[in-house]
Symmetry: C3
């Protein structure tokens, strides 16, 4: 009987037998280390309340737009993938589309979950859709499948969430105060909806921000002080980073009067597209300044055209699988910020990209000079085996291992976290094993390096 | 005696013995499947008339600007590679330059043809130029080397040609009506010379188009109706796709009045460069609309700077080996079209690129969401072993296998068709074998997938 | 006892045993060939005067901004890496940072030097910093470690330096005239500081150039004639190439009146940023014209944002590790030059890039058509094992081997020259071995090709 793909001990390891032997031994070194997840999208209240997951579709399909997108591409209307379309029906669509996930990162994570978390043997199929739905549903009703129990079994040490600046962080506080919960669940300051003046509710957000959190000041100064205050609140609640999902990597230093002018035009609804770009670029400069002051690691995620298909966005909102990357250029864009803060003490700036071309061309050279800059792990579409190998190949020869951030799972799919981190560890082992096999590093040193990239790097870069 | 390169059973397969064993078995599964060629440049009348090929240079060198370009780069003037320079002389230049083709895709295809089609042992050389010229010439005089006999021996099931919208398609009609000919030779609607207002004969083309094919209307409306009519004519003659060799991937929806204005300025010779771009972008939108209506698959080939070397173009015309790719960006460019037609029922849009960076960054994410979008196979300069592997690696982890078009040979070189398809099958086997060896897909599933990518995908994507 | 990394006979060779066997045999063919270094930054006077190298830090750390940059990124202030910070102190910083170089190209070259040039066993470390400093210092005092003796032991046949157009080339002349020195040390004409009007001393440079070298003419005409005269002087002193470190690959043909206007505006300090770009682009056109006339090979190095971190530049000057690449586009940019000189007899134009994306997209297609164009070897950040393999993979399938320049070490680090060339030979052997193992070229032919790429290509492309 053939070994299952999802549990094969050599999955994702290189085919060459000599290299595989080295990779196995490197993997063994880190396989059981706890999970450090410094950036993701799990909801803290799920862990606080520990309510059972409702059903297989709500757990594994509908919230994961990596998954719904490919079902949609196969011809299933987005309306039939909405939560109100019926969990069992959605699951059937998913099972029918399952063969299309072969070779994809999502397919790999899902298969691993099915087998290692839910004990489903074999592959999904249209024929067994109801059976697999029922099997997973039964599991979800068991106490061992409640979020906190999974959290423990997944061996998660640190899990960062992504939060609105005005979130009261009550769930994080409750979890931190609960002696029965042993993990660290940390908030992350994500001010996009307060910084991007094209966001539909920007003006309302800003008004609420100033009214709830400013030091009494109004207008632009009140806005800046409110952001500073909320960052401080996040720091007090354990946050280690502030995350920025910007359109482009542009940064810009404006004087206060110009910034104020932009801010007022934006509030009055007269800002142009240039104003929007300039304000966002200026705010990234301001966010860096605040990070230098309050110590929050700054992470930057540019280069995604959000909600590319207007009709889908209008009908079903954002995060519906049609955020499409585009080409970016970091070198000139990030310079204004780095001129002033690139060598600032203890400032950490993690630069992510969906455009692979910047890894060797821009990010490795930047991180190889600026003590503040770290190359972010391959993110979104690129957090897959081959893409992760391309990343290490593109970055290492210029910047080594120490200037990279460690793995980021960036996921809403709670049950995929172990599969994702395990896949990443297998790829790190594969990459290092090749360098050992090619006599570029010693096997002893590779054993140190794999612990460094899997465990030490995220702790060091994210100040954990 | 060493196995010849061109006939070695393991050519192009991965070196690792375990992976090679898997690749061999996958290749065996598809090695003898018929050839489906949904895009290429063979002339249908060659098959209709079944006239013998004139000589080795006219068959293998002069019409193939992949071949002449590299001879030219080695220092042979383009004038000495023109048909009137003498077949035997051209062949001698080619034989002298033959060592320069080592490692190139063209070299691989040529070597395969020499050995498997013409039975030439060993390598070409300056010393044996006349002997190889005579040997191939002798073969070409044999009945077995007439186009129809080769077509049958090559095991071609479907061959699409590329045709002018006003072509009467008489050759296609004759072949379809001929009970002694068993393949399908399908026309493809290629309206570039009627859509690109910078084309030297655009105005004359358009005038002829309207006069021959409009529904009686004049001007822009007559032009649109004539294009619709000619597409219908192509559909009636078996066409399955419309192909567009555009400068950039831009698309644009203009209202009729604006489109008409552009059209009139173009006819009167007062259109600007911006007008040219806007009109082409608008016409791609119109072509998508027509494809939604008449079912022709739409293929887009942007990103080549045609006739880069002016003096060569002036002296020897186009297709002289100096079309040079440049960077393109699909994400924003194709959005106007996809807003309106991205989820249209049965619309198929195949996006090709000469800029590899868009595979992982843009095309895989687009095809992974839009049911209409398929990632075109690696095309032109990229239809080579390593480039095809990079393509699969860049695309699969995001979009799987089902969102890709299947292989396109895109060739004028009739005798290279089997070598090209065989090379593609070897690379598909190599890629899948690696995934199997790394326990990312099962070997059974890989046997299904290779049939899918080699045979089912082109039939499905091109509606064959 | 494990084999040392730096001396392992199979270092950098592919892991697959069959491929490695082929690579070993290819490497053996070229391992002992003399070094041809047609582009680098060693100072000719070092060889002329043959003065001992002062200390390990001055030899291996401070002049090499590949090395200082990564130490700086680890948190050591640039002030502590300046020559006046104390050689032993700098060496200690370097030894502490040594583990960060694992996996980098610099680390590989350094490790090789330590072991094969200086006989240091094992790895550097903070603990043994003083011991390794003393050991290398002792070596440097020995006669065998004087520059000329090293030059001989390194088996260097040709070493090109990089020189100011007004350099009197006395060192080159002295070396050429010295019967006791057997290598060829050739000057390279590098006019950046006379061509880039944004250079801080441009006006002063130009004034001096005209006064010292023009044919009596003043202004723009005097400037052009002075450049022509100095090129002639370089040719007379053995120069084979003129090297151009430009911002972008733009080229432009201006008429004399326009060029003169730009030149005058630049001298009067009223030139705009557009003027700067236009003048540089025009001067590249002029440099090509001069190369066609005087035969100097033209090499182009665009795409680096020099001195990215203003404060570091202000405090410590250029070449401090913060030149950061950016995206470039050659296709349109280089067209004006190639229109007029692309097929000029004996013109050689070597195009380098720090943006890998142009290799398959633009450079291979350009070099595959234009007899003048050669694809420059992977340069700066890309002259590392994986990057060199990506280069060959990206270029070969379109342009073969004959259209590439051969390896360029581009180094100021004299003692790294053998390690760099040896690494390059190992990678060429690895790439060719894979093609042999995949039955894409024959092993016999690979033995010819490796001699061609290692030895014949640089001699042919650089007219040596």
């Amino acid at each position: 009987m053939p070994e299952s793909l999802a549990t094969h001990p050599d999955r994702l390891l290189p085919a060459d037998p000599g290299t595989r032997r080295i990779a196995r031994s490197l993997l063994e070194r880190v396989q059981d280390l706890p999970i450090i997840s410094p950036h993701g999208h799990v909801d803290a209240s799920v862990l606080e309340k520990d309510t059972p997951f409702p059903d297989p579709a709500a757990l594994l399909v509908t919230p994961d737009h990596y998954v719904t997108r490919l079902i949609h591409a196969s011809g299933v209307g987005m309306d039939r993938l909405q939560p109100d379309a019926g969990a069992r029906e959605i699951w059937r669509h998913f099972c029918r589309a399952w063969p299309l996930f072969d070779g994809t990162a999502s397919g790999y994570w899902l298969r691993t979950q099915f087998q290692t978390v839910f004990g489903l043997p074999g592959e999904l199929s249209a024929e067994t859709a109801d059976a697999s739905f029922d099997a997973i549903s039964a599991k979800l009703a068991e106490p061992g499948f409640r979020p906190r129990e999974l959290f423990k079994n997944f061996n998660i040490e640190v899990l960062a969430t992504t939060d609105d600046p005005l979130d009261d962080l009550a769930s994080h506080r409750a979890l931190a105060a609960d002696p029965s919960f042993h993990g660290r669940v940390l908030p992350t300051f994500r001010p996009d909806a307060y910084v991007n003046i094209a966001h539909p509710s920007w003006a309302a957000n800003v008004e609420r921000l100033i009214s709830e959190a400013s030091d009494g000041g109004k207008g632009y100064r009140g806005y800046i002080s409110a952001l500073e205050n909320r960052r401080r609140y996040f720091v007090e609640h354990g946050a280690v980073s502030a995350d920025h999902g910007v359109r482009t990597p542009a940064t810009l230093k404006l004087d206060d009067a110009d910034a104020e002018g932009l801010f007022e035009r934006a509030l009055s609804g007269t800002a142009s597209a240039q104003d929007r770009d300039a304000f966002e670029a200026h705010m990234m400069y301001q966010m860096a300044r605040m990070s230098v002051e309050d110590g929050l690691v700054m992470t930057l995620h540019p280069g995604s055209f959000r909600n590319h298909h207007g009709p889908t966005f209008e009908a079903f909102g954002g995060d519906t699988g049609n955020d499409i990357p585009f080409a970016i250029n970091y070198t000139e864009a990030v310079r204004p910020l780095l001129q002033d803060f690139g060598t600032a003490k203890d400032f950490h700036l993690v630069l992510f990209t969906l455009d692979e071309t910047v890894f060797s061309r821009e990010l490795a050279p930047l991180a190889g000079f600026y003590p503040s800059v770290y190359v972010g792990a391959p993110w979104w579409f690129l957090d897959a085996p081959d893409a992760m190998l391309r990343f290490r190949s593109a970055v290492t020869e210029t910047a080594g291992f120490s200037r990279t951030s460690g793995f980021i799972d960036d996921t809403r799919a709670f049950c995929s976290i172990p599969a994702r981190h395990n896949a990443s560890r297998r790829i790190e082992a594969s990459f290092l094993a090749r360098l050992v096999a090619e006599h570029r590093i010693s096997e002893d040193r590779a054993h140190e390096l794999i612990v460094d990239v899997v465990d030490t790097a995220p702790r060091r870069v994210f100040k954990l």
